[in-house]
């Protein structure tokens, strides 16, 4: 799977829009507006046909890939393509690499952004607009152009750094910045961090304790949201990894697909399902907390 700039864009707008949507949603639940039907049944036929056509368009390829990989020409319905894919050794090496890179990205992302967002919220409020503006800059730089710049400056200056797969951690953190910032910012707003930290400090806690024991636990939902989105994007990023010649899981996925007619797409389907499960889990975790927390979480 390969996220492109479109994933970035999509991730941020999901975050923005789900945030406002969720807020609007919860507001609508608190002040229910009477559902208007103007006293007669509105014609729903046109609307339903749109839904049906879209459903066909979106679901057909999923069915196609399932059938393609499960109903093999000479063997009928079997999981052989899947078992073959799973046993591929390169799968394990690249997947493991990608997972480690993901872990590193999440760690760096969260550490950097929690610190920064906290600092701007509590200490230097006037810098908030500046930091927010900077956090959405990655949005405006397409990954393909970004990687050109990266290669252009790092190759001559720090060639070994760029050749190292873990260098991706830094660049992926940049890619993740817009929605990590958004998520944490909204989360902090929702818990009125200023009051909480003042209360904690007033009771005698130091800064580290305050952050670890008061702020972070209350940000659980926002952290989860930011983490899940980061994971989804990093596990699918193709452009930068490809052009920096680092063999991550998505890169492997693409090459495997061209080598193996059936096992390739089978692996692809499995990774798509994994992302879907990830999002489902995210939805589950955030919905459980309900109300404002859910908003903060996805936001």
């Amino acid at each position: 799977m390969a996220p492109q700039s479109h994933d970035q864009v999509a991730a941020v707008t999901s975050v923005n829009s789900i945030a406002t949507g969720a807020t609007a949603d919860s507001m609508a639940r608190q002040h229910p507006q009477p559902k208007s039907n103007l006293g007669r049944k509105r014609p729903q036929f046109g609307l339903w046909s749109v839904v049906v056509v879209c459903a066909l368009y979106f679901l057909f390829p999923l069915w196609a890939i399932a059938k393609f990989t499960l109903d093999l020409p000479l063997e009928g319905w079997t999981f052989k393509a899947y078992t073959k894919a799973v046993q591929e050794p390169e799968l394990h090496t690249t997947l493991w690499l990608s997972l480690r890179i993901t872990g590193g990205t999440v760690a760096l992302s969260l550490a950097l952004m929690i610190w920064t967002v906290l600092w701007t919220t509590l200490k230097v409020k006037r810098m908030q607009p500046v930091v927010e503006f900077i956090s959405i800059l990655p949005y405006m730089v397409p990954p393909i152009a970004f990687v050109v710049g990266i290669a252009g400056v790092f190759r001559p200056a720090f060639p070994s750094f760029i050749a190292n797969p873990y260098s991706l951690i830094f660049f992926y953190t940049v890619l993740a910045m817009p929605f990590t910032y958004r998520s944490l910012d909204a989360g902090l707003r929702a818990i009125d961090v200023k009051t909480l930290t003042e209360a904690s400090r007033g009771l005698g806690a130091g800064w580290m304790t305050t952050i670890m024991r008061v702020v972070v636990p209350n940000l659980r939902s926002a952290l989860l949201g930011a983490t899940f989105l980061t994971v989804a994007v990093v596990l699918g990023e193709y452009t930068i990894a490809s052009l920096l010649l680092i063999n991550t899981f998505p890169i492997f996925l693409a090459t495997y697909n061209s080598k193996e007619i059936f096992a390739g797409p089978a692996l692809g389907l499995m990774s798509m399902l994994a992302v879907a499960v990830l999002f489902a889990l995210l939805g589950l975790f955030t919905r459980k907390r309900g109300g404002a927390n859910a908003t903060a979480a996805i936001a």
Binding site: A10, P142, I144, L243, A276
Partner: protein, 310 residues
């Protein structure tokens, strides 16, 4: 985001820290507090600003190190690159407009349709996944559907329709790419439009009816004018999205499609006879400019949206 970041965006752009008047004591206080932001600024500078600015810088300097803007101009005038930018623009425009309109209709549908109740959240969840799905995944899906041995291809073959006289899906044809891009464009539009359509208060519809207007009149005089900035913003966003996309086109066509993003990739891979790497940087620079303008336009339109809908 929305009006908040729109305003903050413009205020951030307009006011630099140096221009903010502060008292001597406060200035001292603030400059000490800045230390906490150093990690962030340092990180952003090294890993985002430096590479990005380098693109523009290197595009303006030839191999000998002389400053020249001619390469920027060369891209604009050379037929080869003009063609790739034109292709990208065309592809982005069509996938944005088609995706935008379908997305709008779909969003309106899931907001208006009450039964079944799970329809709306199902579409929203699917959209969240589909919009974030990577380029490689799309290749899988569509090869299985309309590839040489794809399900739809064989189905149509059975009815005498040959999709493959000309290598169809692999040809890099823009019609095919547009259809494929819709898979993430439509969900993105849904995600963007949903808050806007949700923001249409039922009271407006009812007040209009009360005053004597029919459905059409309401849409013409209130509904569509209010939704217009959001709709336009969505289309602009979709355009930027598609313009910057690389992975799907690359993996699918192996570089056969002449798009701006693919061209940039060639330069990086050293696949072209580069009289200078400068050209590669220039293409990248132009691409950043296009996307930058589009995103700023989107932000501005979004701020106008929330003005009326929140």
């Amino acid at each position: 985001m929305g009006s908040e970041s729109g305003r903050q965006l413009s205020s951030a752009v307009l006011a630099t820290p140096a221009e903010t008047p502060v008292s001597a004591g406060a200035r001292r206080h603030i400059s000490w507090a800045w230390i906490g932001l150093v990690p962030f600024f340092a990180f952003v500078t090294v890993f985002l600003l430096w590479p990005t600015l380098a693109v523009f810088w290197k595009a303006a300097h030839d191999n000998a190190g002389n400053f020249t803007l001619s390469t920027y101009g060369k891209i604009a005038t050379s037929p080869q690159f003009r063609q790739s930018f034109w292709n990208s623009t065309l592809l982005s425009f069509s996938s944005a407009v088609i995706g935008g309109v379908i997305g709008l209709l779909l969003t309106y549908a899931i907001v208006s349709i009450r039964r079944p109740k799970w329809l709306r959240s199902a579409v929203m969840s699917f959209s969240a996944v589909a919009a974030n799905m990577g380029g490689v995944a799309l290749v899988f899906l569509f090869v299985a559907s309309i590839g040489v041995t794809g399900l739809l291809t064989t189905f149509l073959l059975g009815h005498g329709i040959h999709l493959y006289d000309k290598q169809f899906i692999y040809s890099g044809s823009y019609h095919v790419l547009t259809v494929i891009y819709l898979y993430f464009q439509i969900p993105l539009m849904v995600i963007v439009m949903l808050p806007a359509i949700d923001g249409l208060k039922p009271a407006w519809r009812e007040a209009a009816a009360n005053l004597g207007s029919s459905g059409m009149q309401y849409w013409r005089r209130v509904g569509l004018p209010v939704l217009w900035p959001a709709f336009l913003g969505g289309i602009v966003l979709l355009f930027a999205n598609s313009f910057a996309a690389y992975a799907t086109a690359y993996v699918l066509t192996g570089g056969q499609s002449n798009l701006a993003s693919i061209q940039i990739g060639f330069f990086l891979q050293g696949n072209t006879i580069a009289d200078s790497q400068q050209i590669g940087y220039a293409i990248a620079a132009w691409m950043i400019i296009v996307v930058l303008i589009a995103i700023l336009l989107y932000q501005w339109l979004r701020s106008r949206t929330t003005r009326w809908l929140q």
